[in-house]
């Protein structure tokens, strides 16, 4: 989306949000339908493909966003703000389910699987789902959503160095998983 279109979208989001603050249900539904598809897929991936959990997270995210709507300063885009809330709600959901994010590691192992010259997006989606939660979160934010390490660090409450380290390990795990799928298919 170009800058002009983004500006129009932001103005429109703001107008809708002001109506929502006045209790306008149809304005809320428009805002919901505009932003939920991105939010839903983000949290669905973050939760490893658990659809029911992802829907609960989306619902809680909208509740929190509506509660805080009057404090949003509109310096960032509404969609980014919403997704940031969604990420926190999704992490909270993982914690509640006892799925601890992996310990942040600063070590580098011996050479891992080499970067691949052919990747099937379906296999990639499958590999993402199979990653440990902590690795998946950083890989998702950096390589899918395009966040920078300093933004990931701020979002997750870690250092930028830790984010880089986690991404390094996450990519290796992802390649190992993709290699595994290749071997499975070779045996079929």
């Amino acid at each position: 989306m170009n800058a002009a279109a983004e500006a129009v979208m932001q103005d429109s989001d703001r107008s809708l949000a002001e109506l929502v603050l006045g209790g306008d249900e149809s304005a809320f539904r428009l805002l919901y339908r505009r932003h939920s598809p991105r939010l839903y897929l983000l949290v669905l991936r973050m939760l490893g493909g658990q659809e029911a959990d992802a829907e609960d997270v989306v619902q809680d995210t909208w509740l929190k966003a509506t509660e805080r709507l009057d404090t949003f300063r509109w310096e960032a885009s509404f969609g980014s703000w919403l997704c940031a809330i969604g990420l926190n709600v999704a992490r909270e959901s993982l914690r509640k389910k006892g799925k601890r994010e992996e310990q942040w590691s600063e070590t580098t192992d011996a050479a891992g699987p080499a970067p691949r010259d052919k990747v099937d997006p379906l296999d990639l989606e499958r590999a993402l789902r199979g990653l440990p939660d902590g690795y998946r979160t950083v890989l998702l934010l950096h390589d899918v959503e395009g966040y920078r390490h300093d933004e990931i660090a701020e979002q997750l409450g870690i250092s930028a160095g830790t984010s880089k380290s986690q991404l390094f390990h996450a990519r290796r795990s992802m390649r190992a998983a993709l290699d595994g799928y290749g071997k499975d298919e070779a045996h079929v």
Partner: protein, 186 residues
Amino acid sequence: MFDDELSPAERSAFDALPREQMPSLELEERTVALLRQKGHLPTPLLAHKRTDAQTHRKTWLIAGAAAAAVAIFASGMALGQYLGMSKAVQVASMSAQTATEAAAHVQQSGDMYVAALASLGNLRDTSDVVGRERAKQTALTVLGAAAEQIAHLAPDDPLAAAVLRGLNQRSRNEGPVAPSRSVIWY
């Protein structure tokens, strides 16, 4: 130290992943119901608090249909009372086969509703304050039920939403009286 960049093929695969997926339609209703429950969105006039989305939806439809039936019947009877016409009873028993017929029914019953209101406004006897107040409450209930039906037909219609919002605000200001109970049976 952590130099392990993506290959062009890996980058392309990431870029090819979809970024959006629509959640189930039920989730929207569930979310709206939760926001109503928490007081961030107004509760529709004839809806009660629900926690289960499916139950909420079904009950909503039943309540809407019942409200419409009561509204049409009440407006028809009121009209009969005020104008002494028998057409109102026919309106209540209308059953449209096509959209054109349904639109004609809406037009006909709407005209009668407006005519009934006009006759109420033109009454010379102003001493029956209680009776006039009851008639006004009935008229507002019918208006609310009609707005509910339009909202079902077109959930994004701003006019129906504004009418419901206004009536909702009014009922909040006047206290927790269930509007459906204010229908007067003439």
